[in-house]
Subunit: 363 residues, 2 copies
């Protein structure tokens, strides 16, 4: 049996990638019920919302993963925020918005003692982090109830760092992946590798099991990842149009159109580099506009524009998160998407050829 | 039997990628003798040199591929070339070079009637092109002796274009690949995809067989490419340190060092976007410096700097071409590298799962 599936009590070593803004626990539960590991993104949840979701997940008796960001929140720089508003002013004028307009925008908070307090009530079996790992004392709390800890590496150096700092398995996030890049040691985007190059180099550099992410949209992608030495896979984009996802209709339409063929890494929507389908904001402002404030501060000024444009059915200022391979996006129950992906595990290659590594837990 | 290998009269559907500047027909022959398809890069060869090489290849009785660029040569813009020299002036001063210093630099010529005349004498069995395809009348000449025609696609649109314009198979060049990107319809580098995303989308969009390139460095990479629907693979970087390659010692050393972990797409060395190991020129000038003249005109002004720096054992201005996965670079005979890669074909996945397409020739 696959060691990751064994540790997670799932049928397959397949993780539904946490996708803040496109899902709640309904998707998590549907995926876990189907035999994979459903994830709940927690970065944008208040403690009360998190507790409500965790109650549902715990009540199911199913395995699940909760995901947190662990970035260092930047000190807001008033001049930078003003400069960013100035860059956006022509659009504010176009949409008739007051220069100081404010809309609800996601507050992306890093993992905290308060979040750990909530988690301790529920003892989630798997906890994944993005942007490295939390401070040692916070990580120790999570590990105290035996949680299996995951984090993303986008370079060999990050994989080694995660292995040395307590991860139980490593998600190798290829450049193809949608949403936020998990890089935390090197901000140079040119250091980000395609999965074909990243997977073999990470599996050669660490002892921990490696989970492939980025560009995997079907059973063939799962087989390819296993061939490259992955012990499991994490899939996001293919779940974005699932019946149980909360992905907005405009976003679903974009994912299932030819537009999804052209994605870019952009910092416009949060300040952090994230992959989405090219839209007007990315085309006109440049996807990596240097004025955009650091993560997660860029989102506030864009939120009123997004709301105004969406009212008229336009995605000009909407983050249309997507990986480079949206070909797996289907309007279907998450269970069906899961089973289709899991067919990649059927003809699993013999242990001596593929995954030869053991989770940190087993050491 | 694999249809590509059948058409090429090789044992495996494996192409040694043509690597101008790092090889001559010695590598081509060593690879073809081992059972794969050796390639000869011709873009920097005069008709006389090409004839000399083709005589050796023809005499061997082995299959082989000849490779050409088919770019539209730009009209030199004196102001741009002057501006480029001005950007480089501090380095000219540092190395004590006269501002108008000239060194031998590769003249990259597109495929021409003169080249077709030479080819017609030898009737090479496989001809591959980079940057699209030559003009219809030139392509017709190549096809007149039954040559199997290949070209690279970096997007779905380019794959469809090649299918419509006479290619017999398509090389899907993932973003991981070393050397020059083959893009020819869209110069926006953000449209370039990792192989995990590119392969499934191209195989779904065309009927022609697809050959995977980019990031494949060992048998596991070959297996992964086949799992994603490729009918064959093209491997370059893993051959750069082969005994029969002419790769310079400084370049070999870089490929086998930790430095190879960080490559970038750069236009500094030719004007065309190409992937190489990060060096001083890329760090200090920026890998995509907007002043660099268009392909292939950027190389002339850099050549004296390259020569001066290399004299002191430095690669500050040397193009250190490499894909994102140099882990397969071995100082070994090309035959050994070929056989190691070919082990990926041993457990070829059943036809109904992997490659299901037939070459254009069979239509």
């Amino acid at each position: 049996m696959n060691t990751l599936a064994h540790h997670w009590h799932t049928r397959w070593p397949l993780i539904q990638a946490p996708m803040a803004g496109s899902q709640d626990s309904a998707l998590t539960l549907a995926v876990s019920r189907a035999g994979a590991l459903g994830s709940l993104p927690c970065a944008m949840l208040s403690p009360e919302m998190m507790r409500a979701e965790l109650e549902k997940l715990t009540a199911s008796g199913l395995p699940y993963n909760v995901n947190f960001f662990c970035h260092q929140p930047p000190v807001p720089d008033a001049a930078r925020l003003t400069a960013w508003r100035a860059v956006l002013k022509p659009y504010y004028d176009e949409f008739g918005l007051a220069p100081d307009a404010v809309s609800a925008s996601p507050a992306r908070a890093p993992f905290s003692a308060a979040a750990a307090d909530v988690l301790a009530e529920f003892k989630p079996p798997v906890v994944s982090f993005h942007f490295g790992l939390p401070a040692p004392e916070l990580l120790a709390r999570v590990k105290s109830w035996g949680a299996f800890v995951l984090s993303s590496a986008t370079t060999v150096e990050e994989a080694r760092w995660l292995e040395q700092h307590g991860a139980d398995a490593i998600i190798a996030q290829g450049l193809e992946a949608g949403g936020h890049r998990g890089h935390f040691l090197n901000t140079d985007l040119s250091a980000q590798m395609g999965a074909f190059a990243l997977l073999p180099q990470i599996t050669a550099a660490v002892r921990l099991p490696v989970i492939a992410a980025g560009g995997i949209a079907d059973a063939a992608g799962v087989r390819a990842a296993l061939a490259l030495g992955a012990c499991g896979v994490q899939v996001g984009t293919a779940y974005l149009c699932a019946d149980e996802a909360t992905t907005a209709p405009l976003h679903r339409a974009a994912l299932q159109s030819e537009a999804a063929r052209h994605t870019q890494l952009t910092t416009l929507f949060s300040g952090g580099a994230a992959r989405g389908i090219v839209n007007r904001a990315m085309r006109e402002l440049g996807p990596l506009n240097p004025v955009a404030p650091p993560f997660p501060l860029a989102s506030a000024a864009l939120a009123p524009l997004r709301a105004a444009a969406e009212k008229t059915g336009r995605t000009d200022f909407t983050p249309l998160w997507s990986g480079q391979n949206a070909s797996g996006c289907q309007s279907a129950p998450a269970a069906r998407i899961t089973v289709l992906l899991a067919q990649g595990f059927r003809n699993e290659i013999p242990p001596e050829e593929g995954c030869t590594q053991r989770p940190g837990k087993a050491n």
